[in-house]
């Protein structure tokens, strides 16, 4: 490397280092957490070692039972044990009480444990529970990623659908995608004529109209969602106006519905569609359309065959941006949507902060990341030189 390159590297290094440690590393951790499976091994080290010898047929021998009781009796960090209980209960509802019951009674159990444990709870006399422990003594698991697609692994290792009442994630991803798609369609339908109108204006009028797009663009998503929250609420101005004009007799529930989500999301994302379109439209010389007209094209032909194809890069650039941002939306649906209008982001936040199931949060994050990545790659294919550096 010459002197210039060394200096260049030195200048980039501080920010790059921060990005790697503070961003790439956490993202990597998330990807790892989606398959990480430390709980069973950490809480039951002797049992997992003993289960390693077990074929998985019938019941394990006394050595496994003894190792399990010894693990239960060994003085342990309650957090480690709590992790085990949560982890197994996530795999199979009811494991919480089974394991905790065994731990409470472990002190009084007499050898041979292969008889005293099943006497305590018949579950311990069946192979399934031991198969479960054996499966999850593996340091890696596909459970979370499978669950994020409403699938699970059966005891025999085959992949089967989860119980219908637990199957929420396919619908969630589908809903996220459908909401995003509709928001994008609305943004294009509203944005295209608006951008065209702006491109025809000059002077003062242009400045004023542009301000109507730029000011909302600069105002934070939270403030704009808050504005919609206030406008749409039960006692809010829209209901008040509808009541006063006699359109309705009682206040309507507008907020916490799907239309409210569409309204607010389209409002928040519309500038991302209008601005790239406007940039493209302003560069189009009117000569082309005039030439088409003088050659006898009707107005709709001038538009469909000449103007529209030339503006497609703007349509695509804006639509990709809107779609990509919608897929990861969080604040707006949380504020103006109901529970049935929440998107993937909501569940990532829920599993991170409320139910503290980091594996599930990581699996959903990973899938959302892949979904966004696919959109970006597809966009880069369609639009070389696409500038993704707009403000979120």
């Amino acid at each position: 490397m010459d002197r210039n390159s060394r200096l260049a590297v030195l200048l980039v290094a501080p920010l790059l280092l921060l990005m790697i440690v503070g961003f790439v590393l956490p993202l990597g951790t998330t990807a790892f957490k989606a398959v990480d499976n430390p709980e069973v091994t950490a809480a039951l080290p002797r049992t997992t070692a003993a289960l390693g010898q077990w074929s998985g047929d019938g019941l394990p021998d006394e050595a496994v039972y003894a190792a399990f009781v010894e693990d239960l009796l060994s003085p342990q960090d309650n957090r480690v044990f709590g992790g085990l209980v949560r982890r197994l209960n996530f795999e199979q509802t009811g494991m919480r009480s089974i394991i905790s019951g065994a731990r409470r009674a472990a002190e009084g159990l007499q050898a041979p444990y292969s008889e005293s444990l099943p006497a305590l709870n018949a579950v311990w006399g069946e192979p399934e529970v031991w198969q479960l422990l054996q499966t999850h003594s593996n340091p890696y698991t596909a459970t979370y990623l499978l669950r994020a697609m409403d699938l699970r692994m059966a005891a025999d290792g085959s992949i089967i659908p989860v119980d219908p009442q637990q199957a929420i994630f396919r619908e969630l991803f589908l809903r996220t995608f459908i909401i995003s798609l509709w928001v994008t369609v609305f943004a294009v339908l509203l944005g295209y004529p608006t951008a065209w109108f702006l491109s025809t204006l000059r002077g003062r009028a242009e400045g004023l109209a542009l301000l109507c797009v730029l000011v909302p663009f600069w105002i934070s998503i939270l403030v704009r969602s808050t504005a919609w929250f206030i406008v749409l609420q039960r006692e809010g101005p829209i209901n008040a106006a509808l009541l006063a004009t006699g359109v309705i007799d009682t206040p309507q529930a507008i907020i916490f519905t799907r239309p409210a989500v569409y309204l607010a999301m389209v409002h928040v994302l519309l500038p991302f569609q209008i601005l790239p379109l406007l940039a493209v439209m302003k560069r189009i010389r009117p000569d082309y359309v005039r030439a088409a007209a003088s050659l006898g094209a009707r107005p709709w032909q001038q538009f469909l065959l000449v103007y529209l194809p030339m503006t497609m890069p703007g349509v695509a650039a804006g639509a990709v941006m809107v779609l990509m941002l919608s897929v990861g939306f969080y604040i707006t649906p949380v504020l103006v949507g109901g529970l049935r209008d929440q998107m993937v982001s909501y569940y990532i936040a829920y599993f991170t902060n409320t139910s503290i199931n980091l594996g599930m949060a990581a699996a959903l994050s990973l899938l959302l990341l892949i979904l966004t990545g696919l959109l970006v790659v597809a966009a880069a294919r369609v639009l070389p030189g696409l500038n993704l550096g707009a403000r979120v």
């Binding site: 200096l7 921060l18 990005m19 956490p26 065209w196 909302p216 939270l222 206030i230 897929v327 991170t352």
Partner: protein, 263 residues
């Protein structure tokens, strides 16, 4: 037909500004309920904002976090932009990809990932952690803005200064800096605005002791809709517009400066 499209477009523009405009009269209402027409006018919700401790404290926190974010992100981003503009080096493509990651990764994924990593490092519920996270999301924008300014820099001007006997430091201070300053200022304003507006990361990384203004608003919205929230929304709108004006002024200044330098 053309007329219909024009009317439609004007309606869309009205749609874009109306929810923002509506919160202004609501914030000056004398009533407890946010509705129109207001029962009367008063400044009581602004008084509440400026006297109730938590709103003022959240505003102060926002300025502190935004200020630190701005200084650090602008410094690191400007250095990196110069480095990226200066020379080819192995792995430059990878560096560009890494620097653009925070702009394409969904913010919820970033926030959740940072929360898990930062809590292992003891950085959650601290201002340090929040500033680090905000620098990470803001710095790429500084790099873009400054890089654009540096790329338009006419190197013959620097060579002219050097050939007229300026030392490299003098050439940087007297020629380069004034020319790129508008880009740096625009980047800095952007970094401040990014931090000042940021909510999702703040939800994950802050406790009540570090609540920023957006975080306090979000908490307020989920508890009880008090008109103080409308007042705080108006205050944030006004601040955003001020920041927009500053960045536009910097841009205009840059255009004039470059035009002037060429002649």
């Amino acid at each position: 037909m053309m007329m219909a499209i024009r009317i439609f477009a004007v309606l869309v523009l009205v749609f874009l500004v109306s929810p923002i405009v509506v919160i202004f009269p609501l914030s000056f209402s004398s009533g407890e309920i946010l509705t129109l027409p207001t029962p009367g006018w008063s400044l009581r919700w602004y008084e509440d904002f400026f006297t109730a401790g938590r709103w003022l404290e959240a505003t102060r926190n926002s300025f502190v976090v935004g200020g630190f974010t701005m200084v650090i992100a602008t410094t690191l981003g400007t250095l990196a932009a110069f480095g990226l503009n200066m020379a080819r080096f192995p792995g430059k493509k990878t560096v560009l990809v890494i620097l653009s990651l925070p702009m394409v990764v969904p913010v919820i994924v970033a926030a959740s990932s940072m929360y898990v990593a930062f809590s292992a490092w003891g950085l959650t519920n601290t201002f340090t952690g929040l500033v680090i996270a905000h620098v990470i999301v803001a710095a790429p924008y500084v790099v873009i803005t400054v890089l654009a300014a540096v790329q338009t820099l006419d190197m013959t001007l620097v060579r002219a200064a050097l050939s007229l006997g300026a030392t490299p430091v003098q050439a940087f201070r007297e020629v380069v800096l004034p020319l790129i300053l508008p880009g740096v200022i625009a980047g800095a304003v952007f970094a401040f605005a990014t931090s000042f507006d940021e909510l999702v990361i703040a939800i994950f990384l802050t406790g009540p002791g570090q609540f920023t203004l957006p975080r306090q608003m979000f908490a307020g919205l989920r508890e009880m809709l008090s008109p103080t929230i409308a007042a705080s929304a108006v205050i944030m709108v006004v601040l955003s517009v001020v920041l927009l004006l500053i960045s536009e002024a910097a841009r205009n200044y840059a255009t004039r400066l470059q035009g002037g330098a060429r002649q």
